[in-house]
Amino acid sequence: MADQSTPTTATPEQRTAAIEMVLRRSGALPDGFVHDFIEHAGDAWVTSNGARMVARAWTDPGFRARMLADGTGAAREMGFEFPEHHRHLVVLENTPDIHNVIVCTLCSCTAYTIIGAAPGWYKDVDYRARVVRESRTVLREMGLDLPAGTEIRVWDTTADTRYMVLPVQPAATAGWTADQLAAIVTQDAMIGASRLDEVRG
């Protein structure tokens, strides 16, 4: 039973509506801003951006080299954008013997304009607490059982650099076009929770 001496907490909907009223009356919320922002986020900040970068890196050695040297430049070259506080995109190259995995232990920072909004598990306290210290165990629990000889590289997004993983191209997809390849690249593979090993030709 609720404590009668204090008012009930407003629902998130009510609190969000109150915030909207305050911003609107202060002049900080032009008409149409919310609609345009939500529409733009849904259209432009999508996982297929990163997937197209990966597919191009697999099919275009020159682009691959540029992407590994300067992820931001490679993303801009393909017409993708960054918010002001994402100053740098670093692309982490997986190999048969090296596996990269990304986390943000302090909050849930992600290169969301490139790989899409962070999935729920990435934002959960269990992942944030454990993957830095028990990387191999956590990945195994998530279905990625890496060979003992694989070097695991964990990247904690604690500054304003953002990261994405360049997965190893599955052998079964040799000869595919960039469009076909982009369709198999998942957000989880670009975070490092999977390696696309399940992809068959």
Binding site: Q14, W121, T137
Partner: protein
């Protein structure tokens, strides 16, 4: 600040829920847009926003879903920035509105000292009561610089609305067994570290 948001390496947590059920409350995209609008209008900056989340009561922080934390931070900042009083916000919302704890003093950046790729560095043994982007698990630990990123305002100052000179951040590589000897999986741990948190390693 050493609060519960700083989760890296904490023990006792459980299995990661994976795959995670896709679900989005209708207010979440609206709140995200509202916060973007406040940022764009310089009502607060990203560091102030992050610090407001960190100042949430630990019990609330750990039990709040992701966007509840954002909601609490935005409400807190609108009150702190004087756009609305807490009482008026509650009247508008029709109920109580949880806010984060009060903000303390920030700190200015120390004199600049730059580092080179491949250089061995140590994370300063600092305890900061305001905003800081150094996860506790690397405090006092030594590693190697493997990447350098463009300058960004010093967060410990920016989160407190102080002058925050831009400074580079470094990707620093640590060995997991140096961070948690005898109690970790073997790995190379990379952390994005602001220049002011580092010193040359002996």
């Amino acid at each position: 600040m050493d609060s519960l948001h700083d989760l890296g390496g904490k023990q006792g947590f459980g299995r990661v829920r994976y795959p995670y059920p896709a679900h989005q409350e209708t207010w979440e995209p609206l709140l995200r847009a509202l916060s973007a609008s406040a940022l764009k209008n310089h009502i607060y900056n990203m560091d102030e926003f992050r610090h407001a989340i960190e100042r949430m009561a630990p019990r609330h922080y750990l039990t709040a879903p992701y966007f509840e934390r954002h909601l609490t931070a935005v409400a807190t900042l609108l009150v702190e920035k004087g756009l609305v009083t807490a009482e008026e916000l509650e009247a508008l919302a029709g109920g109580s509105v949880p806010l984060a704890g009060p903000i303390g003093p920030g700190r200015p950046a120390p004199p600049a000292q730059s580092f080179a790729l491949g250089e061995r560095v140590r994370v300063k043994n600092e305890y900061v009561s305001g905003h800081v982007r150094m996860p506790a698990y690397i405090r006092g630990k030594a590693g190697v610089v493997v990447g350098i990123s463009p300058p960004y305002p010093f967060p410990d100052a920016a989160a407190h609305n102080m002058q925050a000179p831009p400074e580079p951040t470094y990707d620093v590589r640590f060995r997991a067994r140096d961070l948690w000897p005898d109690s970790c999986d073997d790995a190379m741990n990379h952390v994005g570290v602001f220049q002011s948190y580092l010193e040359k390693a002996a």
